[in-house]
Symmetry: C2
DNA sequence: ACTAAAATATGACAAATGTCATTTTTTAAT
DNA sequence: ATTAAAAAATGACATTTGTCATATTTTAGT
């Protein structure tokens, strides 16, 4: 199980401004603090589970979470990635449906859990918040549909390059300014790209030999960003 | 350009009950009628265009519309399909962003266009409607992410079978109870499946020889639904 | 530091899919 | 009904990608 920890004040949450809770005012935030709890999820733990019913909303306070689903031969498909300040679990909650994907901690993460009933009460009186959530889901849809085009039309080499750019866009660089600030194993990268682990390894090795990236274990440095962008067949 | 026609009453719109406008009451529907116009889009005409800014919301009164985007080598990707009663263009409108896909009439269609400002005014006073739209976008997201898993993990044969089931699920059967009630050419099916036109043709021919379907021109009859479902690697 | 287990890497080959050329069929215009 | 154009079908082949086997490297636990 996840481990409960001190319940931080939403008002002073440094990641809140990036999430859709930035539309709440001071008193609403104080109320929010009273209706949520915070927990630590160790690497590999499930924040929520595919097929489960939502009982609350999850706010990533600190850490990294993957949203993934198990496909047809037990193969995992990574659908989205969440970082500090991201809210997850809103789609199923809003629709009052079962989760269609699981949320799994990629590294130890602290996550606030907002009570479902309180959340719905807040929504009823807060059109603005609902609007923000609708926009957020809409943005997810746009990104998902871009992923569809990529999967349909790009080859594996292009998609592996694209995956690295996606990881960089999501989690940025480590303090050295070059190393992608997330540690996924090759299988997980493959599970995002939609290919086999071996193919992913092959293309990463290729990029390494072509001095586009520099690999040391699971750490990936982007040496030549513009070449990587060209390799991904993206124009900017 | 599209051709304006008589403006039907939303109150008596027989397709409305299937869309998220079913949460509006009688007076709201009468008001809605005053703030929309209806137009005919001939087969091939654009209802809205990728990259364009939304000026209203589109409600398919009658007909069939494809939502698609142009990918990397000018290849089209069909993302969604709309039928009578479906509303389209809500994602970009809600987010106040440019459309990320085009809406093109697959056959002659009549489409009501609801004024943007009126729509936003209605939303402000109607939490329930906004809620329905959020749910609708959430459902689109779920479907898109299922499509991602399919594109990542299934082979082309399975995806072609899946495409036929998708067409059947969306548009149902013609009066004969077997013929899929939509006419797409092979290229368009390929543009949904994410494969080449030739591969699509090959697998359709295969299904034909295996007596799973029966092809006569663009008309496709599903002869053996359970076998088609198995071919798609779907379990139900 | 040592060892077993897991992850990564690589080669060889098979299978799936795309591409191009060509034929056949269908569609639409006169 | 005739004909030209477009779409569908098919074959041959090239390319891409997956699979399996095996070697190498890294990681984690003692």
């Amino acid at each position: 199980m996840s481990k409960s920890i001190d319940n931080p004040e939403c008002l002073f949450c440094n990641t809140r401004m990036h999430s859709f809770f930035n539309v709440l005012d001071k008193s609403q935030l104080q109320l929010l603090t009273q209706h949520k709890s915070c927990a630590i999820f160790k690497k590999g733990q499930y924040v929520f589970n595919e097929q489960g019913l939502p009982h609350g909303l999850f706010c990533v306070n600190n850490g990294k979470i993957k949203l993934s689903t198990i496909g047809f031969d037990g193969k995992e498909q990574i659908l989205r990635l969440a970082k500090s300040g991201d809210v997850i679990g809103y789609r199923a909650l809003i629709s009052n449906q079962r989760y269609h994907c699981s949320a799994i901690a990629i590294e130890d993460s602290s996550v606030c859990i907002i009570d479902k009933n309180f959340f719905f009460q807040t929504l009823e009186n807060n059109n603005k918040l609902l609007f923000e959530i609708a926009k957020k889901i809409g943005n997810d849809l746009k990104i998902a549909e871009e992923h569809i085009v990529s999967l349909s039309q790009k080859n594996v080499r292009e998609r592996v390059a694209e995956a690295l750019l996606f990881l960089k866009a999501t989690y940025g660089f480590a303090p050295d300014g070059q190393t992608i600030n997330i540690t996924l194993n090759r299988e997980e990268i493959a599970d995002y790209v939609g290919t086999s682990t071996e193919s992913t390894i092959r293309f990463l090795s290729e990029f390494n030999h072509e001095k586009i990236i520099e690999i040391s274990g699971k750490k990936i440095k982007i040496i030549n960003l513009s070449k990587l962008t060209k390799t991904a067949n993206l124009m900017d």
